[in-house]
């Protein structure tokens, strides 16, 4: 099997995913275009050597439909030879795209690919995209569907995480993200997004709330109470009769912020790197996805981590640094408990609770954050993963090249 190396990664800043967000005026394809331009320019890439541009997009509807990966590549002036495809593994789409790029390289069928993702949540909002999962009565009723927020509150209820636990975690995420931003840890990866005159619209993650305290968060009302009362709490309890009552602990301050963003990761063989003058920064050791029970939905990270570790003949003690998307605080708390890892080893620069989770793009971003931090701390191995709608987990192990 050929080894797959990561040569570089870039991302947009994360803009507030509402109509007053700084990236709201930028079309999704333009957002990705600028990220792809930057990846090309800073590596002086001969884009005719790129076999595939693979982009995760969760809400492939409207402006984000019809393969924005290929569209953005062409729009960015990439060579015609750079094919493009769009994929969807919900919240892990961006990481899945990198894994797919790696798989193409490892199988010997591609030399150089870009994986990453895109989501403009301000322009293609979550609640305007349906799909059978939540909407088709046979599927939703038969599958005991509940929205993510209810799943997160179900995890808290079932495993006994309190409002204080999740709020304390969120405060720490804000603190770490502020610190990392202030110290410039993200600077090398962020591509400032500009308007057509070249003026910068946004060059930093827009949603970090420096100085958030547990007292601030204690004031916020839980976000998913009404949704639960519509009937989703009953559905959750029908699936988990051992849970007597859903304790609604998640709110705007301890859930991932809704944001706009795009990411791109350059993956290829050692040989193509040598030929094009690219220095490998990391090697993709392995990756795995797995399914878990769909109603509780967000418990996939630990099983997918165990799966990839086993497949690679490793144990969690071989991993120096962990990164798990902070879709909701409880997801990371449960993962730390199940994997028996300390907060000091995971999400050391904060996460989506502070900076936001642009669904399809996030996987590429958290992978990039992990690699940057492994370099900064001079650590060798990292494991990154995300929880996923529909009850899944996707994990990737990387090591410094």
């Amino acid at each position: 099997m050929t080894d797959a190396y990561i040569f570089d990664h870039v991302r947009s800043p994360r803009g507030k995913g509402k109509s007053d967000g700084s990236l709201h005026q930028v079309t999704p394809v333009e957002l990705l275009t600028q990220v792809l331009e930057s990846l090309r320019d800073r590596n002086e890439l001969d884009t005719s050597r790129i076999d595939d541009v693979i982009m995760g997009v969760v809400h492939n509807q409207g402006e984000q439909a019809s393969n924005p990966a290929r569209t953005a590549a062409i729009n960015a002036g990439y060579a015609e030879e750079a094919a493009g495809k769009q994929l969807n593994r919900f919240c892990a789409s961006g990481l899945e795209a990198v894994n797919s790029a790696a798989a193409q390289v490892m199988s010997g069928m591609s030399d150089l690919c870009i994986g990453g993702g895109l989501e403009s949540m301000s322009r293609v909002p979550m609640d305007t995209v349906g799909g059978a999962l939540a909407v088709d009565p046979q599927v939703a009723y038969g599958g005991y569907f509940v929205p993510q927020g209810i799943s997160a509150d179900l995890i808290a209820s079932k495993y006994g995480f309190t409002r204080e636990d999740v709020d304390a975690f969120a405060v720490e995420s804000q603190k770490r993200a502020s610190h990392a931003r202030d110290e410039g840890y993200f600077d090398n990866s962020i591509v400032p997004i500009k308007d057509n005159l070249g003026d910068v619209l946004l060059d930093h993650d827009e949603c970090i709330r420096t100085g958030t305290t547990v007292e601030d968060l204690a004031k916020l009302k839980p976000s998913f109470v009404q949704m639960g009362e519509f009937g989703f709490n009953s559905v959750a309890i029908q699936r988990y009769p051992e849970v007597e009552k859903i304790n609604h602990v998640h709110h705007a301050g301890n859930s991932s912020v809704i944001v706009d963003g795009a990411s791109a990761v350059l993956v290829g063989t050692k040989e193509v790197g040598e030929e094009l003058g690219l220095t490998p920064r990391a090697r993709i050791v392995g990756f795995a996805s797995t399914g878990t029970e769909p109603t509780i939905m967000l418990t996939g990270p630990a099983p997918s981590a165990e799966k990839v570790l086993k497949r690679c003949g490793m144990s969690k003690d071989n991993i120096d640094l962990f990164e798990l998307n902070e879709a909701f605080a409880v997801v990371v708390l449960l993962y730390m408990q199940q994997m028996d890892i300390d907060h000091e080893q995971i999400n050391v620069n904060g996460g989506a609770i502070a900076m936001g989770h642009p669904l399809g793009a996030t996987g590429g971003m958290v992978l990039g954050t992990l690699i940057d931090e492994m370099e900064r701390r001079d650590l060798n191995t990292g494991l990154v993963n995300l929880c996923i709608g529909g009850g899944m987990g996707t994990s990737t192990i990387v090591e410094r090249a």
Binding site: Q61, P125, D127, T128, V129, G130, A134, V135, D136, P137, Q138, A140, Y141, Y144, F145, V146, P147, F230, G231, F232, S234, V235, Q238
Partner: protein
């Protein structure tokens, strides 16, 4: 003159069909009824002197719907489901013939119209109900584990919109004529003695013999598009509400929701096929047969005290004494007290 209806044509060329199923206190849909009704529709279509038809009842009420009593034995050990679905799909052709024959049909709903009775009126081009306080309209099939299988899940949402139709059908609610008018299920109300003249007048005034869903560019009232926020939110919440209310124990409510969801995205003829399949699915499920037996047949018979030995007077409980008020006894005492009985326990 047949066993289930009379048809007379007046001097204006308006056929008046009076449903009158013999030997039944209420009009119900029997095999004979279906045959007779088919003959009437064919005659109305063919006879050039006939310009339109009024459908009403010769009894105090319009029609109660399917004949549950004769249905039960056929449900137990139901044979070939596919053949059954084919028969139901075939039977929809009659209503479609009536809707598309080019002559206006008006339902003059003189009293209560439930289930299949109301469904027939939904196939008429216009509905006038007698403004009677003792009459009710509704599609209560869900109460016996079934769905409105006479086109109700397809026509009602296309008349009053998805949300209102779902509410009515999943809860099996009965409505007074005033409410049915407000919801748009009937087009007009009339005092009982003006019902027939008004119905005829609608035809004479040039009432159109076309259903909304047969018009080009038809859209479900209130909108229905699984790619828009409104529909997405409505269905995801409805699905959860059904789960909450049924605990996943009753198959009918979600079958109704699915029949509406899937059927309203396609032309009505396809929608009727979808409905027929969900309907047969419920017929084959033992839940519906058991509900008909327990909640309809046996309950009616219990309400009428059929099992009571002759000559024993009806006894009214005033005070309830419970010996041994453990978990169950305490519960019985509580519900009895809540129901207004003086209740004591030791």
């Amino acid at each position: 003159m047949s066993k289930t209806m009379n048809m007379n044509v007046d001097q204006d060329g308006i056929a008046v069909i009076e449903i009158n199923v013999q030997d039944r206190p209420m009009n119900v849909i029997t095999a004979d009824f279906a045959d007779d009704f088919k003959n009437c529709v064919e005659e109305i279509t063919k006879d050039e002197k006939i310009i339109g038809a009024v459908l009403t009842s010769a009894k105090n009420d319009f029609m109660a719907g399917a004949d549950l009593k004769s249905m039960l034995p056929t449900l137990i050990g139901l044979g070939d489901a596919s053949a059954m679905a084919e028969r139901i799909i075939e039977s929809h052709k009659l209503n479609r013939a009536m809707e598309t024959c080019g002559k206006p049909f008006v339902a003059a709903i003189n009293g209560t119209a439930l289930g299949g009775g109301l469904e027939i009126t939904l196939s008429c081009h216009y509905r006038i109900a007698a403004d009677r306080n003792d009459a009710v309209l509704g599609l209560p099939e869900v109460m016996v584990g079934l769905l409105p299988g006479g086109g109700g899940t397809q026509r009602l949402p296309r008349i009053i919109g998805i949300q209102a139709a779902l509410e009515l059908m999943t809860q099996g609610k009965h409505l007074k004529p005033q409410k049915a008018l407000a919801m748009g299920i009937v087009n007009e109300l009339a005092p009982p003695d003006e019902l027939l003249p008004k119905a005829k007048q609608w035809i004479l005034d040039g009432g159109k013999a076309i259903q909304p869903w047969d018009k080009k560019g038809f859209k479900v009232p209130g909108g229905f598009d699984p790619n828009t926020k409104g529909t997405i939110q409505m269905f995801s919440v409805v699905n959860a509400m059904v789960a909450k209310n049924t605990n996943h124990n009753y198959p009918a409510p979600i079958a109704i929701v699915s029949s509406v969801y899937e059927g309203c995205q396609v032309p009505i003829d396809t929608g009727l096929k979808i409905e027929a399949k969900y309907f047969v699915g419920l017929l084959c499920d033992p839940v519906s047969g058991n509900m008909i037996r327990s909640l309809f047949n046996n309950k009616q018979s219990a309400d009428k005290l059929r099992a009571r030995p002759k000559g024993v007077d009806k006894h009214t409980v005033k005070t309830l004494g419970m010996l041994g008020a453990g978990m169950m006894g305490a519960g019985i005492t509580l519900v009895s007290a809540q129901a207004g009985y003086e209740s004591l326990f030791a």
